[in-house]
């Protein structure tokens, strides 16, 4: 790791002022899990790390809070994955707790934060290899295209084919969460999907935040008590592994038919992916194994696999079926 200074601001304003205008050399730091990974591999060489854990103002308190505010759950960006997984978030938001408890390892979950999870850089092995230049690092081409791309995107890819690594984001997409961002013009709120950008518009970064902007909290919308939300994931290794694909679904069934369905897909696209066509096909239908089998292919509509990742189409459809079965409480025939 190159040398750097550590700044411990007391207020969010002081922290933001330090970074704004100097985002090339100064970066925010929270749990620093992804940041340390980047620093060790020489992929980031900031001169200063501006700590967000040191904030002592009201903004800092908001970033650490996990509470009901004005009828809606607000989860501060500094909450760890472990805290979220063990939190008292009610049943309709179970997908988020499941996702938070599934990501990474127990040790990492004790340190990694919600904000860091949403803004972490991709795990693409070409990007992460300190000696290989690629599109995302300002190089000429995507090395995964025509290279080793088993773990890469089947949807929304090109010219860079990363998958977004945030597991929490997948659940948040399904739950319709909003993100509170603090910037020069004060706070603004965006839908979680608006936090992320496809490589065709933003090859070098994965998010839409301006330099110096900070995620303060994520807010969950009110949900009917009957909403069931689930998170399903497939991994090559069951102990700790990055997902091959993951699905989060939030479903409300009323009077024997699906009143609302929101479905997020992860590790299949450069952003957390919303399966809109699938959602539309589900609404108004009576939940059944046959329905789920019939509509699951809509999740991957428009997929354009690379040389080694076509399997993700079937796999994602399988996860969608599994998620729908669980969310609707319908057993899979043995």
């Amino acid at each position: 790791m190159e040398p750097f200074s550590l700044i411990r601001p007391r207020t969010l304003k002081a922290a933001r002022d330090r970074v704004t205008g100097a985002a090339d050399t100064r970066v925010f730091k929270a749990g620093a899990i992804d940041l340390l990974d980047l620093l060790k591999e020489g992929l980031a060489r900031p001169g200063e790390l501006v700590d967000l854990h040191s904030l002592q103002d009201a903004e800092g308190a908001a970033m650490r809070a996990l509470a009901l505010a004005e009828g809606r759950w607000s989860i501060g960006a500094l909450n760890t994955l472990a805290t979220i997984a063990a939190s008292g978030l009610p049943e309709p938001y179970a997908a988020l707790k499941e996702a938070a408890g599934s990501a990474a390892t127990p040790g990492i979950r004790n340190r990694a934060t919600l904000g860091g999870n949403l803004l972490q850089r991709p795990r693409c092995w070409y990007f992460r290899h300190g000696d290989l230049g690629c599109l995302k690092k300002g190089g000429e081409s995507c090395l995964a295209d025509g290279g080793e791309n088993k773990y890469h995107a089947i949807l929304g890819g090109g010219p860079c084919h990363i998958v977004h690594p945030s597991t929490l984001a997948v659940a948040l997409v399904a739950l319709g969460a909003e993100v509170e961002v603090v910037g020069d013009a004060g706070a603004r709120t965006i839908g979680v999907e608006q936090l992320f950008a496809l490589p065709r518009t933003s090859p070098l970064t994965e998010h839409t935040l301006a330099p110096g902007e900070v995620i303060r909290a994520v807010r969950l919308p009110e949900a009917p008590a009957s909403q069931r939300s689930v998170y399903e994931v497939a991994k090559e290794k069951q102990s700790f592994d990055w997902p091959l694909a993951e699905v989060a679904a939030a479903i409300v069934v009323e009077g024997g038919s699906i009143r609302s369905a929101q479905i997020g897909l992860g590790h299949v696209a450069p952003v957390p992916w919303r399966a809109v066509q699938l959602e539309q096909a589900l609404v108004g239908q009576a939940p059944s194994a046959d329905l789920f089998a019939r509509v699951a292919p809509l999740a991957t509509q428009g997929a354009r696999p690379l040389g080694q990742n076509a399997y993700k189409i079937k796999l994602t459809q399988g996860l969608v079926r599994a998620a729908l079965h669980r969310a609707c409480g319908i057993d899979v025939p043995a």
């Binding site: 070409y126 090395l143 080793e148 090559e236 102990s239 700790f240 592994d241």
Partner: protein
């Protein structure tokens, strides 16, 4: 107690021993060299050996007090780092380490290549630096002035075999063999392009056997490159004690191979090189010698220490550990089987191409040749395919997990073709009585038939979650070495018992077994025996490879302890006025008495009478006495058997395979310490499971670089991947040496991946003929594509 008296003939003594296993015991006459004690056989009544015994060094390991090479801290010690080639193939046009010497903290820098030299893989040594901290040493590497002329390279074995592929080697290829390699292996030297022939294993006429077949099966099976990934990376600390002597601490599985390499490289007498390995963090075959297979660590550390006039610590990082310290070679095996309509094998022909990168040794072991011996015609041909990747080296049962995967899955496919139960097909072709016993035992204990039936039903109704079962066999030889380990046992006047040998403990538990054997012979509690090991000055010993540690060291320890005991008996005879030492009886508490117990001395009283300071004896063991009941192919040693039964659970919606249960049945001669022996089986199964399902080195064909040189995308299984695991030992009394020890390290990992592959075939109905069995491949197999 001693059965019939020994008959003597010149230099040897013949004992009638009870040998065999379970109820298949018989009296066998075994000829042993004179001076050897009567070997422990099935009738031997032992008090310590054979009992579950926690490791004597356990408290040090669990308290953090155990000192590994990474933990060595010496006054004035410097830290080294190595600059490695970013190119898979290149010629060195210019190299100057001078600029690195000007960097902060740097005390020495040396080139490891010359101008004009060729670099053959990304990760090869270029230069080394020693500095006052690791960070400074790493940072200084960037200052080394080196210019490469990149050359064409090839990292994919299929591409390497194409005409016109870049040639990895020019001229002769030097073969590197270690104590981790199976003794019978050995290569030829014919090379065509990047392909080099190895000797074949032949029996009968395979071509004819295949022609006669009414049913045949022909398919290609591939396996990945598997890196050892020991948790402690390759590491060495070197301190020069004088211009002609040095002390080294090394994370090694062969202390004496480290000594010999350092002596050779620095032109020292071996006796002037002292090597310490009190603890080491795993090896699995990659840690022999002072260097790694693809990196001259011993030379670099020693030369830097000499130049800097200070001790130097050289610890590889995880990336280096993956790319330049060895691996299990890949394989692509074309398996042709011929059989009668009822499944009687008429021929087996295996043609294996494997890549050990720039090195040799990609054979596929004895599985296809040595297990299903009732097949009359067998031909196994192995070829090395050179690539510009890090060198392969011995890896826990070299060749066998690859070979086992191919032949066992091929057999299951044949069994399906002829409509036969795969376990029945195996039993029809196995001669080894222990192996037959194990297969039959497993069939019953694992409820084989019921599980097979349930799997078939789930398959037929297209269930989402499908279970499947598989079985595969192990084969290995008793490679305990003669006259290699010299163990010393001493008893002091104050009654202190000590056993000394230079052996390292790779984690198998030899430290504890040494103490147990001596405690057994001298009738002392284990806690009263001090074990000293891990130091080349404590007497020659073997490397921990080839499953030979216990069988080489434990008999030597017994023989030394018997020497001490004989001397103490003679002393006691005098003190107790016995007519001869033979009249002295040893009690379970170490007390000695004359027949009838008329007069006796406690152990402490006896020791007080020792003339001088101590009674000391050093002993080794001779070559194996024999190979009862079955000989290993290509040698005069016993053939070790084993069988593993696996149940898998396949999620057909996602292709994810998990393993709920494994039953491992193994033979390891006399089990000296069942607790640690079972741990080795647990470990062999875990390694095999990881090989079967998750691990693979991924090379980028464009850059020639490894894409997953970490423990994140190089995937080693963890707690949640582990099955319910049952281990059964089939204790076999072989009469091979004085304690009956035989190895277990390698046999335990051989059949796991094969059995998992067979179980996946059972669950899915289509084979996955490529390791690792990842969801992408399972989903393809579910669509009927192999």
């Amino acid at each position: 107690m001693f059965g019939e008296p020994p008959s003597k003939s010149g230099e040897t003594v013949v004992y009638a021993l009870r040998l065999g296993f379970d109820e298949q015991l018989k009296t066998v006459k075994v000829e042993v060299p004179k001076g050897e004690p009567r070997p422990w056989d099935a009738d031997a009544e032992l008090r310590v050996v054979g009992k579950e015994t926690p490791r004597v060094d356990g408290p040090e390991k669990v308290s953090g007090a155990a000192t590994y090479t990474h933990d060595v801290r010496l006054p004035g010690m410097l830290h080294a780092a190595i600059l490695r080639s970013p190119h898979a193939a290149a010629e060195i046009e210019h190299i100057d380490v001078g600029p690195a010497l000007k960097r902060p903290g740097v005390k020495a820098a040396i080139p490891l290549v010359k101008v004009g030299a060729r670099v053959r893989f990304a990760g090869a040594d270029i230069a080394a630096v020693a500095a006052t901290s690791r960070a400074e040493a790493r940072a200084a590497l960037a200052a080394i002035d080196v210019r490469f002329r990149p050359l064409p390279f090839v990292v994919d074995p299929d591409e390497a075999m194409q005409p016109g592929a870049p040639e990895v080697h020019q001229g002769e290829i030097k073969e590197r063999r270690t104590e981790g390699d199976e003794p019978s292996e050995g290569g030829g030297a014919r090379r065509q392009g990047n392909v080099r022939m190895s000797p074949s294993q032949k029996k009968g006429n395979a071509a004819k056997g295949l022609r006669q077949a009414k049913v045949s099966h022909d398919a290609t099976y591939t396996t990945q490159v598997h890196t050892h990934a020991a948790l402690e990376t390759h590491s060495i600390v070197v301190r020069w004690d004088s211009p002609t002597s040095m002390t080294a601490w090394c994370s090694t599985q062969g202390i004496f191979s480290v000594r010999d390499e350092l002596a050779n490289v620095f032109e020292l007498r071996p006796a002037d090189v002292r090597v310490h390995t009190p603890f080491m963090g795993g090896g699995f075959g990659a840690k022999f010698g002072a260097s790694a297979p693809g990196s001259r660590l011993g030379f670099a550390a020693g030369e830097l220490a000499r130049k800097a006039k200070a001790p130097v610590s050289l610890l590889l990082d995880r990336h280096e550990e993956h790319v330049c310290t060895g691996n299990r070679p890949s394989s692509s095996q074309r398996v042709s089987l011929g059989a009668s309509p009822s499944g009687a094998l008429t021929g087996i022909h295996v043609v294996a191409h494997g890549s050990a990168g720039i090195a040799t040794g990609a054979g596929v072991g004895n599985n296809a040749f040595g297990i299903y011996t009732r097949c009359p015609n067998i031909l196994v041909e192995s070829r090395d395919v050179f690539c510009n990747t890090g060198p392969g080296t011995a890896f826990r049962a070299p060749g066998h997990p690859q070979g086992g995967f191919a032949i066992e899955l091929a057999l299951d496919e044949l069994a399906a073709k002829v409509g036969k139960d795969p376990l029945a097909l195996r039993l029809e072709h196995v001669d080894h009585p222990v192996r037959r016993y194990q297969l039959e035992l497993g069939r019953e204990r694992f409820a084989w038939a019921a599980r097979r039936e349930a799997a078939a039903k789930a398959r037929e109704r297209g269930a989402r979650m499908r279970r499947g079962v598989g079985v595969a066999c192990s084969i290995w030889g008793d490679y305990g070495r003669a006259k290699a380990a010299h163990v010393t046992v001493s008893v002091d006047r104050d009654g202190a018992v000590e056993v000394r040998n230079g052996v390292q403990d790779i984690g198998g538990g030899i430290t504890t077994v040494l103490g147990m054997v001596v405690a057994e012979v001298l009738q002392r509690p284990l806690a009263a025996v001090r074990v000293r090991m891990g130091d080349s000055e404590l007497g020659p010993s073997v490397g921990s490879g080839g499953s030979q540690t216990t069988s080489s060291v434990a008999p030597a320890a017994r023989n030394a302890a018997e020497g001490v005991k004989a001397e103490l008996s003679a002393l006691a005879a005098g003190l107790l006025d016995a007519k001869s030492p033979a009249e002295v009886v040893w009690g379970p508490d170490g007390a000695v008495s004359t027949a009838g117990g008329r007069r006796s001395l406690s152990f402490a009283e006896l020791c007080k009478k020792i003339p001088g300071d101590a009674v000391v004896a050093t002993a080794t063991r001779p070559k194996t006495y024999g190979h009862h009941p079955v000989r290993h192919p290509g040698g005069d040693v016993y053939q070790i058997a084993g069988a593993q039964f696996v149940e898998v659970l396949v999620d057909t919606w996602t292709g994810v395979v998990t393993v709920p249960e494994i039953l491992a049945i193994h033979d390891a001669g006399r089990i000296h310490n069942p607790l640690t022996c079972r741990s080795q089986v647990n470990g062999g199964v875990a390694l095999g499971l990881s090989y079967a399902l998750t691990e693979a080195r991924v090379m980028d064909r464009g850059s020639g670089r490894m894409l997953n040189p970490n423990l994140e995308t190089y995937k080693i299984v963890g707690t949640r991947d582990m099955p319910k695991l049952d281990v059964i030992f089939t204790e076999v009394h072989t009469g091979a040496n004085s304690t009956g020890a035989i190895g277990i390290g390698e046999p335990a990992t051989i059949p796991t991946a094969a059995a998992i592959a067979c179980a996946v075939f059972d669950a899915v109905g289509h084979p996955v003929r490529s390791l690792p069995i990842t969801p992408d491949k399972v989903l393809r197999a579910l669509e009927g594509q192999a």
